[in-house]
């Protein structure tokens, strides 16, 4: 069964933009590319503007609105056509879809910001609701657990979509983490402003993931992924952390 959507589902487009996000670009490009491959495999033309950089969230969250707006404007320029913009990160998607309108309120380009925002979709949401992607699992039996990023869940309304995708893989067993929705402690600058509190949060998060007994942890946000996988590596956790796009592509041998 397809989960209920938090907002209206647009018609299937012929062409989409892909916004890779700066963390994906520098640290997880394979995850980013996997998302593009999945979309292309579904018959869409995927455009990756080379002039894209960052959504501006770090500045906005620090209170540097002018700086955030300047960077957002660079994205308006890089994504000029009215195609949907697909983002493999709930956090950056949330910034662009939910926060651009308020960030540009009263600015001369407010309408442009709002139009841009309304074109932004989180990858797994788009795969489920717009493409209704069918996945043929070619992998070995495997148990995984899902980590839902705070911004995906609470800003983008992406709740069950990624789990729905995992359920469409016949050989994958999804094990629920009772603390799935609890923040991993990344929070951008929070992780370095309050390292000890953040450290306590991610340590607990790792313990809860390990407690599920799953072999792999799948998530849709590279901020969380960087935080959780870093903590797992440091503590020698047996669980393998993955971005969902890469995981789906591998399982379906895309």
């Amino acid at each position: 069964m397809t989960p209920a959507s938090a907002y209206p589902v647009p018609p299937r487009p012929a062409t989409v933009y892909y916004f890779g996000t700066c963390l994906v670009d520098l640290f997880y490009p394979d995850a980013g590319l996997a998302g593009m491959d999945l979309l292309r495999r579904e018959g869409l033309k995927v455009v990756f503007p080379q002039n894209q950089t960052c959504c501006g969230q770090p500045a906005r969250n620090t209170g540097m609105y002018e700086e955030a707006r300047a960077v957002a404007r660079a994205q308006f320029k890089a994504f000029p056509n009215p195609w949907p913009i697909i983002v493999p990160s709930g956090s950056c998607a949330g910034m662009m879809r939910m926060h651009y309108p308020e960030l540009f309120a009263g600015e001369p380009d407010q309408a442009e910001a709002e139009a841009f925002a309304s074109r932004v979709y989180e990858l797994t949401w788009f795969l489920v609701h717009v493409l209704d992607i069918q996945l043929k699992d070619k992998g070995e039996p495997l148990t995984v657990t899902w980590h839902g990023s705070c911004h995906s869940v609470r800003e983008m309304g992406v709740t069950d979509e990624p789990k729905e995708l995992l359920r469409r893989l016949s050989n994958v067993t999804l094990v629920e983490n009772p603390r799935e929705k609890e923040c991993c402690g990344f929070g951008g600058t929070f992780a370095v402003r309050m390292p000890e509190v953040s450290g306590a949060m991610v340590t607990d998060k790792v313990a809860s993931i390990e407690g599920t007994g799953a072999a792999q942890m799948v998530t849709g946000d590279c901020g969380c992924l960087m935080n959780i996988s870093g903590a797992m590596a440091k503590s020698g956790s047996p669980v393998k952390p993955r971005h969902i796009a890469e995981f789906l592509k591998e399982r379906t041998n895309g």
């Binding site: 620090t62 870093g230 903590a231």
Partner: protein, 478 residues
Amino acid sequence: MAETAAASTFVERAHKVLGNTKLRGNFRRAMDGLMAKRAAQFADIAAWKSLRARGAAAKRRVLARLPELLEQLEANCTANGIKVHWAETTHEANSIVLKILQDHDARTIVKGKSMVSEEMHLNAFLQKHGIEAIESDLGEYIIQLAGEAPSHIVMPCIHKDKGEIAELFTRHIDGQPYTEDVAELTDAARRVLRSRFAAADAGLSGVNFAVAETGTLVLIENEGNGRLSTTLPPLHIAVMGIEKLVETLDDIPPLLSLLPRSATGQSITTYVNMITSPRKPGEKDGPQEVHLVLLDNGRSRVYADNQLRDTLRCIRCGACMNHCPVYARVGGHTYNAVYPGPIGKILTPQLDGIAVAGDLPHACTLCNACVEICPVNIPIADIMVRLRREAVHPSDSPAVMGAGCKHTATEAAVWAGWKKMYASPALYRMGAKMMQRFGNMMPGGMPLLKEWTSVRTRPVFAKKTLHELAKEQGYSDV
């Protein structure tokens, strides 16, 4: 505790708690329990959303015309025989309370739970003037014995376990043997407090909701102590922040349904007290005189700003604390503020100023767990970001005291550089290249990386960026 906290930062105070495994365990268990209880109360999501919309609307309507409604409240209270006083500062409020008590020769007062009186630091003030104030809420009584401040606005001693309370009681209550039996401990407190209720010259309480239409003060509680402290003594003084208002009695039911269920997961509180006047001729109980002190303490400044105003919708249920992953790790005292947790992170800097509480809005990952459960739908995360902005922007904010005081040339320069790099695609691509080549060679001891690697391995820059991979894989650029 308070003295050491005063000079320290949030991070330093957090360090102490994070090292205390017993305290951390207490918090974790308590918060897990509270979250589960609340979730059980609001299992029907559609019903929760509609109730929350009603609660939020009631508070929003009040805030749309607060000055006018406060005048209506004053007029109706006065007509009912309640004497109304206005205080702009906590010092004024304290002086008003003191004057009333002195006029009545009162030496001891018994208190129901009131966060505004914590905001006023009323007990210490009265003590200086020779008046003894006894907390009668069990949790407040316990922390009063311990000489501490509340660590939660609804459950003030949630950080203490049975053993600690048993020790406190043995030390402070005559003839009390050490026991961890909760019923026996409660009995011991009850015995002490009973005699206090009867002997007190005055009772002091907070107000959960004041009804402008009728001049009614609504107080909710579980222990009966609120009723005793507002009924037995001949004099009752209620203190409230000016935002604790509703328009009509019809606004009360949804809020009474939201507050205890959000706070403790109870479907209703044991007592709902509605006070509309002092004792009338022929009535058998109730105080002869009732006073209401309305405290501003910066609230009208908050009110003046359209976005920040939403802060004043808060009905003090504490659910945001119970659901905050930061609060669950560090506890209420770490905030060094009357109001801890998410609501405290936005309320405290607005009441006390950014110079005092500017680090609180940063003690947050913006995870939105508080926003998700707030029964009156306060956009806590958005206000948090707004206050971060106020802290670094000198020009732009008469609404917040000390705006711009955290502005530093270094941080401004860092963000100017950031903007330059990310607003210019060519520069960004060049920067990304440099990162690929040299990023993994950054010395581990450098700032940010050092903090990050305290519990994590360092992130590894990929050999090729997505920009490069997309090009290689034939993805179109336009």
